[in-house]
């Protein structure tokens, strides 16, 4: 699946720990849209995120953002080139207050779409808690701060790893609204989710990851209404087939 308007293109990406490959020839591409990567535990979803942002070195393949190769670059180069990251577990800085999390990035954000003030406008709750430490926030507030921090990079692509993890349903609603809002503003969002319901709400396209590759892609409705597909790819729901599979096997050049 290669698109002419691709913002992010991942080709034959390989990453491993020692001798074992976790990403094994993974390919996909996306434009300015929201895309979710779903899959069972241990399929390499977080490894994919960490490789995209340069936390893990790729052992093969290519990552291109707007045509520029980013694989093999340092995390700071990749972030500046335009991939912002909301990692699993948020990874806030316990020594810093909410305000300081944003202030440390304020200079480069000056005069652009997302400044600390714009983030506070988006998340008024954070403004109320601006002098609290990152560790004193509720799970939802922590996620808002992690998203706000990523927004300050003013990047064309935001990668979110398990953003709904541990969040109350109302907070997930807020997250969904923000992702939609970002896409409407021209920011692409790549979400990695284990929670299928959240993934379907967060993204228009669902890429299914199996053993380090993208095996298939579906729309949210397809995946939600087909327990057999859920069972086959995600290990949940019933195995009973509900008609012919309409999901497309994901192959290069599709």
């Amino acid at each position: 699946m290669t698109r002419d308007d691709a913002l992010l293109e991942v080709r034959d990406l390989r990453t491993g720990y020692g001798a074992s490959l976790v990403l094994d020839g993974l390919s996909f591409s996306m434009g300015v849209e929201s895309v979710a990567v779903v899959g069972r535990n241990g399929m390499g979803k977080t490894t994919l995120c960490d490789t995209l942002v340069g936390f893990l070195p790729a052992s093969g393949g290519e990552v291109l953002l707007a045509g520029r190769r980013l694989d093999g670059m340092a995390p700071e180069t990749i972030a500046r080139a335009g991939i912002a990251y909301v990692p699993q577990g948020r990874r806030l800085f316990p020594s810093l207050t909410v305000d300081e999390h944003l202030a440390m990035l304020a200079r480069r954000a000056r005069g652009r779409r997302w400044t600390p003030d714009a983030v506070y406008e988006l998340f008024p709750r954070l403004a109320e808690r601006r002098h609290h430490g990152g560790a004193d926030l509720s799970g939802g507030e922590q996620q808002m701060l992690a998203v706000g921090r990523a927004l300050l990079l003013n990047a064309p692509l935001i990668v979110m790893d398990e953003p709904s993890e541990g969040l109350a349903p109302t907070i997930v609603d807020v997250l969904v609204e923000i992702v939609r809002h970002l896409v409407a503003e021209g920011v692409a969002v790549l979400v990695v989710e284990q929670n299928l319901r959240a993934a379907v709400r967060l993204a228009d396209r669902q890429l299914v990851m199996v053993s380090g590759r993208i095996e298939a892609q579906f729309t949210g409705d397809e995946l939600l209404n087909r327990p057999d597909l859920q069972h086959r790819y995600l290990g949940v729901g019933s195995a009973a087939p509900a008609g012919a599979a309409t999901g497309r096997r994901h192959t290069e050049g599709e």
Binding site: R91, E100, M104
Partner: protein, 357 residues
């Protein structure tokens, strides 16, 4: 595992750890109370005598403790700053301390126009401040050079970095012996601060308070730098999670270089203060590296607050032990330092303000 279970696990682990530390906390409390009672009421026959009988001596000892703590803080703050961010135990910290002292002494001699028996009356404030900046500047540049030439290629290899800085220490010690000789030398305080005043009938040197004032000033400036500037916030964030800082587009190598520069500058300022306070000689590098290590182990590696608290505790033990141990035992004052270390580590294994790496 669900998040709820993880939280329960964490709580159980926390409780178990807290239970394990209860006996040491009790011991520490008993020790503190016993020491206070000893110093206040029972210390007859010690060089200072019971504090209740001789409050003047007590006050002077307390001032000694705080002023020595000031010097220790300056020496240890740069050390802890570098360790906190880079996880490098910079064994060359003592060498930078001593080199700055020697350089400052030479510059002061050149400015005053005499090489020995300099009278403080001939030393203006500038004749002390300019050598201070020169000595600390040389230490800062050398520190940056060490970081750029040797350490940045071995990022993340802490043991290798530590051994390299240890090797640099040996080389520098030899070169300094060749260049500056083996005799103890002294930086002369400016005449304006060299006088004595009287508290409770005890004479006290104003230079010690001057040294404390500089330490406080440095502490305040460092605090402002780390807490009120964006680069300071980046450094603190880097202490928490270096990789995530890089993931936000921040070039951590530049931050490392700046931290090494500032940390080495602080080592230099400590060296010049130390040379004014107690002189500089071969071996001073090792003893001040040890002082800095003790302070940061007590306070917790990587924490500025820890460096301040560690310096105060260390200064207290260093000043009070010789004054309040029975005369025939005051030789054993150094052992008290290790007692303090053992006690703090038993109660807080990562130091007072330290966190697991």
């Amino acid at each position: 595992m669900t998040p709820a279970l993880t939280d329960v696990d964490r709580a159980i682990r926390r409780n178990r750890a807290a239970a394990l530390r209860r006996p040491p906390v009790l011991v520490a409390a008993v020790v503190v109370v016993a020491v206070a009672a000893w110093v206040l009421l029972l210390a007859d026959g010690t060089p200072a005598g019971a504090a209740a009988d001789d409050p003047g001596k007590f006050l002077v000892t307390a001032l000694d403790a705080v002023t020595f703590a000031g010097l220790s803080f300056v020496a240890a703050s740069g050390f802890t700053l570098i360790f906190g961010l880079m996880r490098t135990v910079n064994m060359a910290h003592g060498s930078l301390f001593l080199l700055a002292a020697y350089v400052a002494i030479r510059v002061q001699e050149a400015m005053v126009g005499r090489s020995r028996n300099i009278d403080p009356a001939d030393v203006g404030l500038l004749d002390w401040v300019v050598p201070l900046l020169a000595g600390a500047g040389v230490a800062a540049v050398l520190g940056l050079l060490i970081q750029q030439v040797f350490l940045q290629w071995n990022e993340g290899q802490e043991m290798r970095q530590t051994l390299m800085t240890l090797a640099i220490t040996v080389v520098l010690a030899d070169q300094m012996l060749r260049e500056f000789g083996g005799l103890a030398q002294r930086m002369v305080w400016p005449g304006t601060v060299t006088h004595f005043f009287s508290i409770f009938g005890e004479r006290y040197a104003a230079t010690r308070l001057f040294m404390l004032a500089i330490a406080v000033l440095i502490g305040v400036l460092l605090w402002l730098w780390l807490n009120r500037t964006s680069i300071g916030m980046v450094i603190r964030a880097g202490v928490d999670d270096r990789q995530m800082v890089r993931g936000l587009g921040i070039n951590i190598r530049r931050v490392f270089a700046l931290t090494f520069l500032v940390g080495s500058f602080l080592a230099g300022v400590g060296g010049v203060l130390g040379a004014s306070f107690a002189g500089a000689a071969p071996g001073t590098d090792g003893s001040w590296l040890l002082n800095a290590l003790v302070v940061v182990i007590i306070g917790g590696l990587g924490s500025l607050k820890g460096a301040a608290a560690g310096s105060l505790l260390y200064g207290t033990v260093v000043a009070f032990s010789p004054a309040y141990l029975p005369s025939q035992y005051s030789y054993y004052a150094i052992i008290m330092t290790f007692g303090l270390l053992a006690l703090v580590l038993a109660v807080r294994p990562y130091g007072l303000f330290g966190r697991p790496a």
